[in-house]
Assembly symmetry: C2
Homo-oligomer: 478 residues x 2
Amino acid sequence: MVKNIKNDAITPRDVDFAQWYTDVCKKAELMDYSSVKGFIIYRPYGYAMWEIIQNYMDKRFKETGHENVYMPLLIPQSLLQKEADHVEGFAPECAVVTKGGLNDLEEPLVIRPTSETLFCEHYAKIVNSYRDLPKKYNQWCSVVRWEKTTRPFLRGSEFLWQEGHTIHATEEEARAETLGMLDIYNETAKELLAIPMVTGRKTEKEKFAGAEETYTMEALMHDKKALQSGTTHYFGQGFAKAFDMKFLDKDNQQKYVYQTSWGVSTRLLGAIIMIHGDDNGLVLPPRVAPIQVVIVPVQQQKEGVLDKAYELENILKAQGIRVQVDSSDKTPGWKYSEAEMRGIPVRIEIGPRDIQNNQCMIVRRVDGQKECFDLSGDLTEYLSKVLDDIHQLMYQKAETFLKENIHSVYDYDEFKDVLENQGGYLRASWCGDEACEAKIKEETGATSRCIRVGDTPEETCICCKKKAKHVVYFAKAY
Amino acid sequence: MVKNIKNDAITPRDVDFAQWYTDVCKKAELMDYSSVKGFIIYRPYGYAMWEIIQNYMDKRFKETGHENVYMPLLIPQSLLQKEADHVEGFAPECAVVTKGGLNDLEEPLVIRPTSETLFCEHYAKIVNSYRDLPKKYNQWCSVVRWEKTTRPFLRGSEFLWQEGHTIHATEEEARAETLGMLDIYNETAKELLAIPMVTGRKTEKEKFAGAEETYTMEALMHDKKALQSGTTHYFGQGFAKAFDMKFLDKDNQQKYVYQTSWGVSTRLLGAIIMIHGDDNGLVLPPRVAPIQVVIVPVQQQKEGVLDKAYELENILKAQGIRVQVDSSDKTPGWKYSEAEMRGIPVRIEIGPRDIQNNQCMIVRRVDGQKECFDLSGDLTEYLSKVLDDIHQLMYQKAETFLKENIHSVYDYDEFKDVLENQGGYLRASWCGDEACEAKIKEETGATSRCIRVGDTPEETCICCKKKAKHVVYFAKAY
């Protein structure tokens, strides 16, 4: 009884993209809901993707001189309130512990929504001299922000992330860190996730609570909405002054440190799903796929078939390819559909006739391309190339999609028309006035995603027609 | 100005062991206090040790078929209350969130003290058939238990750990898992941390809240007090019935699953410190040392000295040895003391005369043994052997200490006398009656650490003189 899980499992993207997304998250077993709203369970397949991202980025962080630490989960309310802009940004989203060990607490404790204040307090204690600088710390943890509307991976009351917090003796060094980490994020997106990003600076309105400048990378989803996917912040000396983070410099002067922070989260999983997925489910870029190759034995009850499948598995595994034989008691057709749903980049089919002919079938998830491979060749080498090709193809597809959906617009009617009928990014010139930004958001639903540093604006602002200062990418966004 | 940090930095162990411990934790920069009592900061050097432990264990877990997941931080109070013994055990230690996003919550949420209830709820949802079993999940996270008395790594209101939660179709399989994971814990202690453990079963009184049986590994500290260092629990079907975790078995019958859980925490760092440390600070077993070899250049301002130090560093690093050149502007003597305080297993000294003679000095932290190495030999190979030797030596030292401090006692006066004058483990026969266990604890301060399965008891209980059932190791404990 072959049941085709394709048809009844997920909603097509063009029918209801939001429902498609939820279907994929659930049916590909990336996550499940818990009984607390906005708190999801990261299931093994979803968590394994996050682990791969963690390993990749952690290596990059350490190569660039960062060290991991772990800060407390709870922040005294008074500590969170030390920097004015910061507390204003986060107070409405806080989860507050008021009882501990059966007693009411004297001071309420907030579950970290982000850990700037904890790092500041610690740095103020341990840094005395220029010799102690820079400090470049990072932590992997979960944070809690009470959200009204939540969606798996995209917006949750709890999510997993890394938060880097660094302090430096000079402004120059801190600014270089802010941009350098954005580069690492951008490279991770490109090299690991096959995702092209638009990068730039956030406007004053959209920047992080307490930052002087926020930089962002933004990805474009299949439904042409933008997804903020990673941000880095330059703090200047704002927190340094609020927390008295001073050091004795070489010139024997007490100075305030310059500070940065930066983070990416499990939102990246949402980006992978929404950029690469199709109507049959997930399509995973090979380098982030927990299973890169699934081997499906055909007529597996026949002598030698399973043996051969495991033989191939062992060969590939020994060379570092993440491979799995699906030896469950389902039909091959069912297994193919499941492998498609789970987005496994390559499927190998091998049955008695293939074995007789010393061959196997290799099928690519991304485009269904199917070919017969002669097993007297080097399968590992060939598959490594196939996986690389798939990565490149997926990146190029996403890049083409991105480029096709960046629209330069020159007046406000055109802006509204293109937004309405085409979506994507609207590249427009802006005067720098928050009023225009707010008006555009209110009237069209599009927000400023980023200021494109170095891009030359037209004469006039798209909105008010006063002199333009910046090129901004606007889009509807998650 | 050479200042000897040895003398003024830490209290000798025999003067005040507790103070020595705190001094080492702070001065070796393993941790710092935060402004919330019982919530510590894991500093880079301490956290790096935890990462090495994580990597080692995670590999073992995955090799044995376990998968990582991430469960929510918060548990509805009603969910935590579903299993009666469990809630009774944890209710007094809970941190409770009562406000979220500026509103009072309808139902209070508890920060996980442990996640059995979350795993149970999830498993009940996703398991239907014997085909879905076993489920062998693990998560790395922090948990919160409101403690009155806290000490770095040993007892905190927040600590880092892993918690494994598995369900199985048969009792046999679940029992094998419970013991198998204890083996993996025990091997980790031996192979990675150079710590010999005493293993056994906890008494009814000491077992985990909700478990049928708890197994433990217990380490013996320098002050002859025991430290519970890892536990595995067999739950039978208790939680399965409370949470309705059923599956359709091959025989077409609905059955309850059999369950286990198991965990080790950052307590292991406390064990490493208190077992191996000495009056000069930390002494780290090489396999868990974040820095295995420190290279101290002597007269580093002289031409070629730093170059040579970096050359050696590169050679060793390329072969996977964790090595660091200390090129700071301190004196060599100061660097030696710092390296000692931080417990770095091997120190290499190299100066102009060494370079002239194509040699370097190699000094072992564990015993101060110093030798001259001819650099025409293979330094990496030699150091690998040295590091292995140090590991073996440290294990043997700890094992000798452990064996010397297990005292078989045959009557209650002897028990009290040995406990008072010698400390360590008291191997005694016990009737199995909780009254005797409680009396011993009350009168002597020693608790039952574990029942030694397979060890034959004497005729009579050490306490009541009724018929003995078990051999129990008693000790004062952390």
